[in-house]
């Protein structure tokens, strides 16, 4: 279903705000709405609790600016981070900034890290020997009914998130690597406990 990105209700234009705080509050709301709608199409807004959003802040920054801010002035990387840090204060508590692999900042709903990780592990479990390209295709294609909700779940995890969490699975020992000249292939760690 093609949907032109949601029109900003009001044009949040930096120059119109006499102080930065107000501007950042407005940007935070716009980011929140955009993320909640854009990154999970499967559930209507009523069931906010079980939707799973996880996107690296750097990828989100590019997508948000391109979809929402062309024409109204892009926001800076720093403004993006500052705006996200205001969610709680503004009562927007389904999304927050989290750090994965104690390195990479992400925008995510509660425990979506474990959700994405379990998706990656079950995909590799069913398709042992997959490479990153194969994994990305498998995990992002509409899967049939998933365990926790019986609606068709279309995932849309950015390459940034998949790479980071895949790396986490290897570092933690959930997955093993099979390195060939043709690429890196992933297997469940069924032999060696960690």
């Amino acid at each position: 279903s093609h949907r032109i990105a949601k029109k900003p209700a009001l044009i949040i234009d930096r120059e119109k705000f006499y102080n930065k705080e107000l501007f950042l509050d407005e940007i935070a709301r716009e980011i929140y709405d955009f993320a909640m709608s854009e990154f999970n199409e499967t559930t209507t807004t009523t069931q906010n609790e079980n939707i799973h959003i996880m996107v690296t802040l750097v990828d989100f920054y590019a997508i948000y600016n391109k979809s929402m801010r062309i024409g109204t002035g892009l926001i800076s990387p720093l403004e993006m981070k500052e705006a996200c840090q205001r969610f709680e204060k503004l009562g927007l508590n389904n999304l927050k900034l989290t750090r994965i692999n104690n390195r990479v900042l992400c925008l995510s709903t509660k425990d979506s890290f474990n959700f994405v990780k379990s998706q990656i592990l079950s995909t590799i479990d069913q398709n042992p020997g997959s490479d990153l390209l194969n994994l990305t295709n498998l995990i992002n294609t509409p899967s049939t009914k998933t365990a926790n909700n019986n609606k068709m779940e279309t995932n849309n995890w950015t390459i940034g998130v998949i790479m980071e969490i895949l790396q986490n699975c290897v570092d933690e020992g959930d997955l093993l690597i099979d390195e060939q000249i043709s690429g890196i292939y992933y297997y469940m760690n069924t032999y060696w406990k960690v």
Binding site: V170, I177, D178, Y185, Y187, Y191, W192, V194
Partner: protein, 179 residues
């Protein structure tokens, strides 16, 4: 040749795993595989590359059926740990070759001692050659053990003064007398 366990056809076994806790278990999995292969095929020595002296067409580090091989650098790591665990010893005559100790030296020593007792060869001089190749040791697991290894296996007996080693003019051990 008896089939090796399922892990031998598990592709990640052939790639040095980044997680060190896992890598340790992976190294030990390789050591167990080498010991199992050696025991089941009476393969006393193995080339550093993994070619079996018992069957030169077979190389344990190269699995034809799943098209996987262990990288030379990782092979070195496996041998290094195996030696550290004294489950392999460099063959001094040819250091690209290792003796595989699927039983440790002490168990070999007690097995040989038991042979001396069962075949009442105590207090008799038995040449190293006879011990290794002689008909009387045919049904014993140490039969055909390479002489350098056999000599090593006899050392504990000497140390415990249960045996004295007899040497030829150049000082090379040639026979043993167990009391």
């Amino acid at each position: 040749m008896q089939p090796l366990p399922p892990i031998y056809s598990f592709p990640p076994l052939y790639t040095r795993q980044p997680n060190s806790i896992i890598r340790n278990q992976q190294l030990n999995a390789w050591i167990d595989l080498i010991l199992q292969y050696a025991r089941e095929n009476k393969c006393w020595t193995m080339a550093k590359t993994g070619t079996s002296t018992a069957d030169p067409k077979f190389n344990i580090f190269h699995n034809e059926s799943i098209q996987r091989s262990v990288s030379p650098m990782f092979i070195d790591e496996i041998w290094a740990l195996m030696i550290k665990q004294s489950k392999a010893i460099v063959n001094n005559d040819n250091n690209n070759n290792y003796f595989i100790l699927w039983q440790n030296i002490d168990s070999w020593a007690s097995l040989i001692l038991q042979w001396f007792e069962d075949s009442n060869k105590l207090n008799q001089v038995v040449t190293i050659y006879e011990l290794s190749q002689g008909d009387e040791t045919i049904n014993w697991e140490f039969h055909q053990m390479p002489e350098p290894l056999l000599i090593l296996a006899l050392k504990p007996l000497c140390k415990r003064n249960r045996a004295t080693m007899l040497k030829d003019e150049d000082g090379a051990p040639i026979a043993i007398k167990v009391i």
